[in-house]
């Protein structure tokens, strides 16, 4: 069953078409990714799906409710972790959650129960009475994640939730999100321009560029389009017949002493190939990545002009303020 349906959704800002006729269905319980470079239209799509922006044309439904005509029902059904910090840093973690419960009309007893639950989920119970200004960037993200889950939404939107966090904190966030999503059985829509995150987490993803969906499938299927991993060998006298005889290689390209092999799974067959091909000078293994997929569909690389100013700068400021 589709929990999110977009039908030819377009968003125009003056002379810029940020989202260009997107049609998409996201299935209930799915971990779905919107992958694309900055400015591709991911955040605009998300702002429309969360009722903060009105589509210029097209219709969309979340949990069966029309975005434009039934925004309140949509809002009740969704939780969001925004790209920039969205908690009040003069309040404590607990107070931010209490405020959220009040905004979502939760009865007091349920609210307090859920605050305890979600604080425990993101390991912030000990720090709940600390002022958010004194949290690290990663802690603040976790608080906002807890908040997004607190009213038990059907859909959780994560807008670049790890942007600007150091690799360790990024990893930390995902160790919370993965089991959470399984436990709370909700649909997750993630926007990211980190390919590895999308690859690892998403059941399906849409690659989006210049406001259009250019590819839509599971990461594995998307990568299969490119044929598979490549193994490049520096070998003067390759025994290509023996390699072919292995039945593991889809494609062989030879240019003098350089042999390029396309295989389904490099990890599984590298050892056999090395034994068959003869003495090698060097080996280069290039597992196919979503970067390659992106390149394949768009003809250009993800221009990773990551303007990480927002989060990084701010959390740095908060951290330095505490020292």
């Amino acid at each position: 069953m589709a929990i999110i349906e977009l039908d030819h959704v377009t968003k125009q800002f003056d002379d810029l078409t940020a989202v260009d006729g997107v049609t998409l269905e996201i299935v209930d319980g799915e971990f779905f990714g919107l992958l694309g470079p900055n400015g591709a239209g991911k955040t605009t799509t998300l702002l429309m799906l969360t009722t903060l922006l009105r589509p210029t044309s097209g219709t969309a439904r979340v949990n069966g409710f029309d975005l434009v005509r039934q925004p309140r029902q949509v809002r009740n059904a969704i939780g969001i972790v925004f790209q920039d910090p969205s908690s009040d840093d003069t309040l404590t973690g607990y107070e931010n959650l209490k405020l959220h419960g009040m905004l979502y009309h939760m009865p007091v007893a349920l609210r307090e129960q859920r605050i305890r639950d979600v604080l425990a989920l993101v390991d912030l119970t000990d720090r709940k009475d600390g002022i958010v200004k004194h949290y690290s960037g990663g802690m603040r993200r976790r608080l906002e994640l807890a908040r997004g889950l607190m009213h038990r939404p059907k859909v959780l939107f994560l807008d670049e939730p790890t942007l600007g966090l150091d690799p360790q904190s990024r990893e930390h966030i995902w160790t919370y999100v993965e089991p959470l999503v399984a436990e709370e059985k909700i649909t997750v829509v993630l926007t990211t321009h980190y390919m590895e995150e999308a690859d690892r987490l998403c059941a399906r993803l849409a690659i989006i560029d210049h406001g259009r969906i250019v590819a839509l499938d599971s990461p594995a299927h998307l990568k299969r389009v490119l044929g598979g991993d490549t193994i490049t060998l520096g070998v003067r006298a390759p025994n290509l017949d023996a390699v072919t005889a292995l039945g593991l290689v889809d494609k062989i390209d030879r240019q003098d002493a350089v042999v390029k092999l396309t295989v389904r799974d490099a990890k599984a067959c590298l050892q056999h190939i090395l034994q068959a091909v003869g003495p090698v000078d060097w080996v280069e293994v290039h597992p196919v990545t979503l970067d390659d997929v992106f390149m394949h569909y768009t003809g250009h690389e993800m221009r990773d002009a990551s303007e990480e100013g927002g989060w990084a700068e701010r959390s740095m400021r908060y951290r330095s303020a505490t020292r």
Binding site: V68, P71, I80, S86, D88, T90, L91, M102, L103, H105
Partner: protein, 266 residues
């Protein structure tokens, strides 16, 4: 976004207003410098300006220092109320505003909650200033200001309506401004004329002809006059007129404010 009015329950709206107020109140309690700053300036006006000028100026019916006390109360409320609007600009600078706007409450509720939040701050400030005024009056430091419970208490609803209107104005400016600097610019352009034209520092009798219309279109004029009614029993317009204008102004800016919030970009 307000077409599904039928689905909105009044209880939810009041809950939403309460949530916004809760946040503003917590922030207010935590930022004590705000309140200290809002008390120091009015005291300077009363003691230094009023005390210095009061020796050389005579107002029919009362001492000058006591005469400007209602005006300074209104001024304090004017500045703190309008400046409250800048916090909406800050809310937008981080994504906190989105968190509020994506909640299942109407933008009108967000606006009303903000108005009540800002008005609460100003009323705490007003209570302190009324207390200080009473103390300074009783001690003879502000000659002619006689602290009496009922007139001082009657000033509170007048100040409440005044601050609610002015917070609305501040929020309307805040809803339209992208940067705190822009807010600062527009609001200071508004604050000083509003203050000087309100008659906070001078009586409204015998004004130059060119000045009279400007004073009459200044909404703060009527708050100052109403405050003079209750605190000094020495005013220019009938109290009914003052209250009528104040109520009308409040209605207009609240309507404009909820409109501005519905139109506000995230």
């Amino acid at each position: 976004m307000g077409r599904t009015i039928h689905a909105i329950s009044l209880r939810d709206e009041i809950g939403g207003i309460g949530a916004i107020w809760y946040r503003e109140w917590k922030v207010f309690l935590r930022e004590k410098s705000r309140i200290v700053a809002s008390i120091v300036n009015p005291i300077l006006w009363l003691l230094v300006f009023g005390g210095g000028l009061g020796r050389n100026v005579s107002i029919p019916g009362t001492e000058y220092q006591a005469f400007i006390f209602p005006g300074i109360l209104a001024q304090a409320v004017l500045f703190s109320s309008i400046f409250f609007g800048v916090y909406i600009v800050w809310d937008r600078k981080i994504d906190f505003l989105k968190e509020v706007l994506v909640a299942p409450i109407s933008r009108t509720a967000v606006f009303i909650g903000k108005v009540i939040g800002g008005a609460t701050d100003s009323m705490v400030q007003s209570l302190i200033l009324l207390g200080l005024g009473a103390g300074l009056g009783a001690a003879g430091i502000i000659p002619g200001l006689h602290p009496r419970l009922l007139p001082f208490a009657a000033a509170l609803p007048i100040l409440a309506v005044t601050t609610a209107s002015l917070v609305s104005v501040g929020l309307i400016i805040g809803a339209m401004m992208e940067s705190p600097e822009g807010f600062q610019l527009v609001s200071s352009f508004l604050l000083f004329p509003t203050f000087f034209l309100s008659g906070a520092l001078f009586p409204l009798d015998r004004l130059p002809a060119w000045l009279t219309p400007l004073v009459l279109i200044d909404p703060l004029t009527y708050s100052v006059d109403a405050l003079r009614h209750v605190i000094l029993d020495n005013a220019h317009f009938p109290l009914g007129l003052d209250l009528g204008v104040m109520a009308g102004f409040l209605a207009i800016v609240v309507w404009m404010g909820s409109f501005a919030f519905r139109r506000m970009k995230v």
